[in-house]
């Protein structure tokens, strides 16, 4: 009997082609649109309905059953609130990682299994082999960074066929399959933040922030800011500091509502060759002797840096880097790779 696969259809080209490829390969494919966010923000209309219709149109054209899972409540609670709390606490959260961890590879996976699926599939640029998460063929598009906290159980039953293709080939496939999404523009990360801009989004959700002082390394006030939450370490722009050398954010104090800057691009505060992690999560077992063969990535699409991982108590760990990296921010994820395998990662503290 054919294996039953539920494909997460977002209304974009990657997930459309995922569904088409799996159907072509003989799976019994069902398309599922996950409704995660439908709120309009002033000046920006949430395109969820358009995406839903595109997803449904793709299902109709491929002649596969279509479902919608409504995760809006859970998404608000698990992803949006997590993100807002993070910003309020002065860290830089990553909602895409959270969405994969809590929504796609948990709620969607569980709902699909309950509805009779044998497998799930997503349009991510990554490969899954025997439950191992591997880099995509198109290294430029590789999305393993966002996937490192997915549950192991779900990955064992996940297909990511797009991981074997280059983006441009995916578009060609979409055209070959007559999919209406072939020429649709890619969305930028989390839909509402990509299009609204994080500052407008935070303003809308949290209200106008209190202004405060910007101080240099000597403690001199060099300017004012419109809310410390908008600033992230390493940021160069928008300090309202006129003239002279550019300033870089090196830290902030949410309680005092202060932002700290430097003009020294080589400041120790900006460049780190070691850092600490918490909430370590592993997708695969790792041998002790491999802990110094790892490479780490601290941002989506950032260069991989050779490192030594030192495991600590509970879920803590520390990392020593071969070369220092710039603008490490608490809240962001550090993700580890052994060759082309994504091993896991943790949250920078």
């Amino acid at each position: 009997m054919k294996q039953k696969v539920f494909v997460g259809l977002s209304g974009g080209v990657d997930s459309s082609v995922t569904a088409a490829l799996l159907k072509e390969r003989g799976y019994d494919v069902t398309g599922v649109y996950m409704k995660n966010w439908s709120k309009d923000i002033p000046g920006f209309e949430c395109p969820w309905l358009e995406d839903y219709q595109d997803a449904k149109r793709v299902a109709a054209i491929l002649d596969i059953p279509f479902k919608m899972y409504d995760f809006e409540k859970e998404y608000k609670h698990l992803v949006v609130d997590y993100m807002l709390d993070g910003y309020k606490n002065g860290i830089t959260p990553n909602p895409d990682i959270m969405c994969n961890q809590e929504i796609k590879f948990k709620l969607f996976f569980e709902a699909a299994m309950k509805d009779g699926a044998d497998l799930i599939a997503t349009g991510h640029y990554a490969k899954v082999l025997d439950g191992k998460l591997l880099n995509a063929l198109d290294t430029n598009k590789d999305q393993t960074y966002f996937l490192y906290r997915a549950s192991k159980d779900s990955l064992k039953k996940t297909l990511m066929p797009i991981g074997d293709y280059h983006k441009k080939d995916v578009r060609e496939l979409a055209a070959k399959f007559n999919l209406p999404t072939a020429t649709k523009k890619d969305s930028q990360g989390i839909c509402f933040v990509g299009k609204v801009g994080i500052k407008e989004f935070l303003n809308f959700e949290l209200g106008k922030q209190k202004s405060g002082n910007i101080l240099d390394e000597q403690g001199n006030i060099v300017g004012t800011h419109e809310g410390a939450i908008y600033y992230t370490i390493g940021q160069r722009h928008g300090l309202n500091v006129g003239g002279g050398l550019p300033y870089y954010v090196i830290g902030k104090d949410m309680k005092k509502n202060e932002v700290y800057v430097t003009t020294d691009i080589s400041s120790k505060e900006l460049w780190k060759n070691e850092f600490n992690l918490d909430k370590m999560y592993f997708l695969d077992d790792i041998k002790k002797e491999d802990l110094n063969k790892l490479k780490v990535r601290t941002r989506y699409r950032a260069e991989l840096v050779e490192c030594q991982l030192i495991l600590g108590e509970d879920t803590k760990a520390s990392v020593e880097l071969k070369e220092s990296i710039k603008a490490l921010t608490p809240g962001q994820s550090a993700v580890f790779y052994l060759d082309n395998q994504c091993i896991g990662g943790g949250i920078v503290i």
């Binding site: 309905l49 149109r57 299902a59 109709a60 054209i61 002649d63 007559n178």
Partner: protein
């Protein structure tokens, strides 16, 4: 070449080439503001006046009873808000299958919905029951855009007449007006306002092979309205804003053409939809929404058991066939059509319903192609 068969004429119609020809000079050569005082603008004003006369002729009304608007939605808003804002304590009645452009403005005032039966025909008893001494406006559409039911406006007018007489007797000075959204009508029915007995009528150019965002509101002399858009006082102060001669002339011309060819079209459309309905109803999965008689001859609305309308529309689209689910407006939200629910369909049935609306270029062959494609899909 891939087939392209358009069966959504109730949503939009192509501009008639004759209409376009009439419109063209007013975009650049004769661009003048018709209210200016030099001779060139006077010429434009004359053309607008002629256009107004032409509309009035078709309605059997006076020229000063026609104001030009940007179409059905605006005309409905002017009529409803214009009356209701003058009579704050009064109420409005409207039929439960009105377009959103009537329902939504009406909802901001004291309002009651008049029921319809399972075919969409107005429940006159319910209307009589709901009219009270504070009712100032009744809005009943002429032809329903989704299920094609034709309302007998003259019967509504009779009920209104009785109420007016009793108000005279009781010294109740509150007027009572009948408004009708006739956006879908001019291709199909006569629009003589005195025969229909209406005081306010909405017309829409975009549904009658005229330009989109064009239309008119008929306002019977003596009907009081508060202006919605204030400014330079154009259109008797009811609708300020520089006139748009191209659209006005285009609208007027499209209304004239619709009126001229209506009689011939009527029979042709009747035959086309009648034959297709018969064929469709032979399939046990298919039921007709709305009436068989007393139905706009360009409209078919059917419920097809077992396939949701969005999926069906996408699959038909793949074959080059364009049909609608509900009205073009309700296609954009997730709620099933309020019209289909008003005639007693379940949410599921409403989501399994499609509307086929035909027009001037629809042929027997087109409908045959559609029928075969549909049978393959369901």
């Amino acid at each position: 070449m891939k087939k392209s068969i358009y069966l959504d004429y109730a949503a939009a119609t192509p501009l008639d080439p004759k209409v376009l020809q009439k419109m063209l000079p007013f975009f650049s050569e004769d661009f003048f503001n018709p209210t200016a005082n030099y001779s060139k603008s006077k010429l434009v004003k004359e053309k607008v006046t002629e256009a107004r006369k032409q509309v009035a002729m078709i309605l059997g009304s006076r020229s000063n009873e026609i104001i030009f608007t940007t179409g059905g939605t605006e005309s409905n808003n002017i009529a409803i808000k214009g009356v209701m804002d003058l009579f704050k304590d009064a109420n409005i009645l409207y039929s439960s299958i009105e377009h959103e452009a009537v329902i939504n403005p009406a909802k901001s005032y004291n309002h009651k919905e008049i029921k319809v039966d399972e075919k969409g025909n107005l429940d006159f008893e319910d209307l009589k029951k709901k009219i009270d001494s504070k009712t100032v406006l009744i809005s009943v559409m002429h032809v329903n855009n989704e299920i094609g039911v034709i309302n007998k406006l003259s019967l509504v007018a009779e009920i209104i007449k009785k109420e007016r007489l009793s108000r005279e007797k009781n010294n109740n000075p509150l007027p009572l007006y009948l408004h009708s959204d006739a956006s879908q009508s001019p291709n199909l029915l006569s629009l003589v306002v005195d025969k229909l007995g209406i005081d306010l009528m909405t017309l829409n150019g975009g549904k009658i092979y005229g330009p989109k965002q064009s239309g008119a509101l008929y306002i019977r002399n003596g009907t009081k309205l508060k202006p919605l858009i204030e400014g330079g006082g154009q259109e008797d102060g009811i609708r300020s804003g520089t006139l748009n001669p191209a659209n006005i002339i285009g609208f007027s011309e499209s209304l004239k053409l619709a009126n001229e060819i209506r009689k011939d079209e009527e029979k042709r459309l009747q035959k086309l939809t009648g034959d297709l309905i018969k064929k469709l109803l032979n399939n046990p999965k298919i039921t007709l929404n709305g009436p068989i008689k007393n139905r706009a001859m360009n409209n078919i609305n059917v419920c097809i058991d077992g396939i949701d309308n969005e999926t069906l529309i996408y699959k038909l689209d793949q074959k080059g066939i364009m049909v609608a689910s509900g009205s073009a407006c309700s296609a954009s939200d997730q709620e099933p059509s309020h019209v289909l629910k008003a005639i007693g369909l379940s949410d599921k049935q409403a989501r399994e319903s499609i509307r086929i609306s035909i027009g001037r270029t629809t042929s027997d062959e087109d409908l045959g192609y559609f029928y075969n494609a549909l049978m393959e899909l369901i």
